[in-house]
């Protein structure tokens, strides 16, 4: 059943985000044509458009994640969703996974767009791509071994993924809580308010943990090193490990609370 939920959830998500991806493809195509035929004014306009749609993809995806979750669970569609023969855990897992996939995809497209712009800009100022790659390679070669490089990349990717999971959990929690009776009358405004409040609180806790909890990971030429001191007391590339643990626990808490609201506190109107 989870597979079927994911399939249908991805279909629903695709209908929300497809227009912005089509717009992005169109803008990139115009940019490519302007480069090919050296139409400078068109390239300049297309470049601005690429930057705008780049951020637009992320914004539209996050709005569609909020909207899809709210509509499919707590509005009229909820009458169908909640009468499917699945558990609320399966429902939440499928929705969260699909939201994660859409947000991740939007980040990948955003990064790809900006990387493309960077390489184009580098080419424009006569700094050859080959030279840039050589500099990047020399930086990597100076690192101790491949295992450390893989470790650092894995760490970055895990941290990045965890941030997306955390964002999804905060969104779901805010949407679910805003549909509980005292907040229901305020509508979408309460969702925004709860999300902002949650985001501000968790960001503050995260910053305080980084500053005061003596647990961090330092990346240097000697490799990755676990330090028993706060993140901000070391120089170089340092990750606050307490922050990662907090995000994992907080994400789990937000998902559990969302499921609890779904099962106990929300009455579909």
């Amino acid at each position: 059943m989870v597979g079927k939920l994911i399939k249908n959830e991805l279909k629903a998500g695709l209908h929300s985000v497809a227009p912005i991806y089509i717009a992005t493809a169109a803008v990139v195509a115009i940019l490519a044509i302007s480069f090919l035929f050296e139409i400078v004014w068109l390239a300049a306009i297309a470049l601005i458009a690429v930057v705008l749609v780049g951020f637009g993809i992320l914004a539209v995806t996050i709005i569609s994640v909020i909207n899809n979750f709210n509509k499919s669970m707590f509005r009229d569609q909820g009458y169908l969703t909640f009468t499917l023969p699945v558990t609320s855990g399966q429902l939440l897992f499928a929705k969260a996974l699909c939201s994660f996939i859409w947000i991740l995809l939007s980040y990948i497209v955003l990064i790809a767009l900006f990387a493309g712009i960077y390489f184009y800009a580098a080419g424009q100022v006569d700094e050859s791509e080959l030279a840039t790659l050589k500099i990047m390679l020399s930086m990597i070669v100076e690192l101790p071994d491949t295992a450390t490089i893989i470790g650092v990349i894995s760490l970055f990717v895990t941290y990045f993924f965890l941030n997306i999971v955390f964002l999804v959990s905060e969104i779901y929690f805010a949407v679910a809580l805003s549909n509980v009776r005292p907040f229901q009358k305020m509508g979408f405004f309460s969702t925004i308010l709860i999300f902002m409040g949650t985001f501000a609180t968790t960001s503050t806790i995260s910053t305080l943990l980084k500053a005061y909890v003596p647990l961090s990971l330092k990346i240097s030429l000697e490799g990755a090193q676990l330090l028993f001191e706060p993140m901000y007391s070391s120089s170089g590339i340092v990750f606050g490990f307490s922050d990662v643990i907090f995000m994992a626990i907080a994400s789990a808490f937000f998902f559990v609370m969302t499921a609890w609201f779904m099962n106990h506190k929300i009455n579909l109107k």
Binding site: N8, K11, H15, S72, Y79, T83, P85, R181, L268
Partner: protein
Amino acid sequence: MSKIIEVKGLEKSYGRNQVLRGVDLSYEEGQVIGLLGPNGCGKTSLIKILTGLIHDYQGTVLIDGQAPGVYTKSITAYLPERTYLPEWMKAKDAISYFDDFFTDFDKVKATEMLNRFRLDPNQKIKTMSKGMQEKLQLLIVMSRASKLYCLDEPLGGVDPATRSAILDVIMNNYAEKSTVLISTHLINDVERIFNSVLMIGEGRVKLDASMDKIRNGDKSVEEIFKEVFSFGW
């Protein structure tokens, strides 16, 4: 015969507003039950509890011997009083969706009914009229061979000709030995199809009787309804 619906001491409140006050019910399978009562009497809340949409109630509710959950949802076909299909879907997507989740769904039957109702399988739900959306929902729900059908106001807001067509669809398509619970206040149109009548008012059961018993008396269902709910007339 086994009990398809068993409800004991059911209470439900929305804040300070108590809508169900100690409701007791028990129905065996193979019946068509008319759930009658004035607006706001708790009919929809009762149906929502039976279908597993409302969890925060007091009392015991059993569907085919089990509390509302995954199993009961798999044997209960629910038609709400509103459009619950996602707007982005086409008619054929909605059929595929039900086919994915409900093992008792008959895709061939649904497609046949779609043609009979002259609905375009490729038309988006968003572009359908309210009447078309209601037809689509009804045909999808009635294409399931469920043990229990909960139909909340299936005749609300439609003209007499359509009402008759809807009743035909319900009566010709519900599975044998199934139980059909129909909530309505259009008593005249549906009286003929009921085996039992359940009247709810002020959150309590006002009348729970078989149609045979009612027919043996000298009053019609509508007359009894007016008598029971005289406060609302």
